[in-house]
Symmetry: C2
Subunit: 321 residues, 2 copies
């Protein structure tokens, strides 16, 4: 048997772990709770313990391990330093590989969790076979992860790919979570779609399935699929905002493909049918061939990407800062 | 003496050439006219002839030459293929290094001219010492060149860094040269500033130095320096558009620095004083430390960058597609 790799994705509630074979296939995956007590100081030891237990269970020795990749919820530089800590799990700034190696002495690389997801989607998901892609994560917020030339574009301060905070609307009165007004995230995230829906429903009394039950991104796209006119108008607004934002991204990095992931993307291909035509309306012609595909790895993208940066042997980032 | 490098920048009117020492300093620079007859078929032979003449003049032999870098006015991939030709000079698609090597058998690399300028500014100009920067060229149009991790971001179809075609204004009736409406280029280029000025002057009869003589980006910034209130309003509009556009760029690639070049940048630091505060208004907070500097190499940026990609030994691009 060739060497195996562990991919770890540290989230606010659970830590996802995966064991990958040399061919990039997942052999095993599991989760442990994220222990946020004492400023998260138990998280890394518990990850190490869980990996060591899995090694014992499968009779793996240290020399069988190619390495461990770790995706963390904060900005991470090329040396694996969590440069500004990770607020969600209480972590201060520190060097993740050094800390983990104190428990298991194998090669360790760390990277930002959103970038890990992007790398995973390129390695084994919707962007497979591409050299450049942008993962667009439509969840509570709008996140992004950019790969160019097979490498993660982390950015000078770890904010590369923060496409949710592109200014897209001059006439916005409400604030985005970041403090600005008119960010893409305010219209294209799950909560943004609900805001668009509320505003549309308040405009008139037109009948709509959306006037019953709880509003959500899912209920909007379910209503679209059921042929609801008002829901379609909302989806058009969403598509216009996201298409405009992604056209800006295309003019900057000119990727081969946009991979659309996150909870909102569960709506499926219908979501792309609203975004792609609007993208064409705004895009610079030489970028008009940019493809749109759905993400394929779901919540596993992070463990794939964390393992992938180990297996691909490269740096996790093009930005050595 | 160590090996020397030639940097070549092919423009629509002249071809600029430079001879560079091992330390990256320019030893000599000169120009030849761009011979566009017969679909530009004489351009490369004339460049070769000019380089061979310079070698003769300086007693340089083939083994003294580290290589020749060529910046061309079209999209160029990593192998030096001019993928879609170069309309301005009549060139069809072909492989530039192979063609030039037929005349001088030394290492040759080719890249897009705007990307060459960006690489030059990072290597020896305003972005020196940085790993990531965006060159913003404010000329007849608005161009861009992006460097991340020390490498040029060329893009999947060579349209990386085309920041002039970010959609920035929903309420525009006139078309941009690209066919869209509301591109950054329509407000932040030399011609865009004149448009903004015309629109402002037509609004009312307020006295302004700009009502005399010919309108140009230069006359607007000269009037700003002379304390003209109407010119200041125009500069504020310009600053708001460019600040908004660059904030979008920062949210995508998060560079260390914006290097501002092109004819409009001859206005000097006052230009930055109008852009930087507007950038702060729109930028995602983690990118707020992005620096603004003026380009330093002027029209020589292209020959520097073309020589630089040879001397830095790397690929001209992070995008191997």
């Amino acid at each position: 048997m060739g060497k195996v790799t562990f991919g770890v994705d540290i989230g606010g509630t659970t830590v996802k772990l995966g064991l990958f074979g040399e061919d990039g296939c997942v052999l095993d995956k599991w989760e442990i709770p994220t222990d946020k007590e004492d400023k998260g100081r138990h998280i890394l030891p518990e990850i190490a313990e869980s990996i060591l237990a899995k090694m014992g269970e499968r009779g793996l020795r240290q020399e069988d391990i190619q390495g461990i990749g770790v995706g963390a919820p904060g900005a991470v530089d090329d040396e694996g330093n969590l440069t500004a800590g990770a607020v969600n799990i209480g972590w201060p700034p520190f060097n993740i590989p050094d800390a983990l190696k104190a428990y298991i002495n194998v090669p360790v690389m760390a990277l930002n969790d959103a970038n890990a997801a992007a790398f995973g989607e390129m390695w084994q998901g919707g962007g497979r076979g591409c050299h450049s892609m942008v993962l667009v994560t439509l969840g509570t917020g709008v996140g992004g992860g950019i790969i160019v030339g097979g490498r993660i574009l982390a950015g000078a301060t770890g904010a590369g790919g923060e496409i949710g905070h592109i200014h897209i609307e001059d006439n916005e009165t409400e604030q985005c979570g970041c403090g600005n007004r008119g960010c893409l995230e305010q219209y294209a995230s799950a909560t943004g779609i609900v805001r668009l829906a509320r505003r549309r429903l308040a405009q008139d009394d037109r009948r709509s399935l959306l006037r019953e039950g709880e509003l959500s991104a899912k209920s909007v796209f379910d209503a679209v699929k059921a042929g609801d006119d008002v829901a379609m108008e909302i989806a058009e607004r969403f598509g216009d905002y996201l298409g405009k934002g992604l056209a800006a991204v295309a003019a900057v990095v000119n990727p081969e493909v946009f991979v659309i992931g996150g909870g909102v993307s569960k709506a499926g291909e219908i979501l792309i049918s609203y975004v792609a035509p609007c993208f064409q309306k705004y895009v610079f012609a030489p970028c008009s061939g940019t493809k749109f595909v759905l993400a394929r790895l779901g919540n596993d993208a992070g463990i794939y990407g964390a393992a992938g940066v180990i297996q691909c042997g490269g740096h996790s980032s093009v930005q050595p800062q």
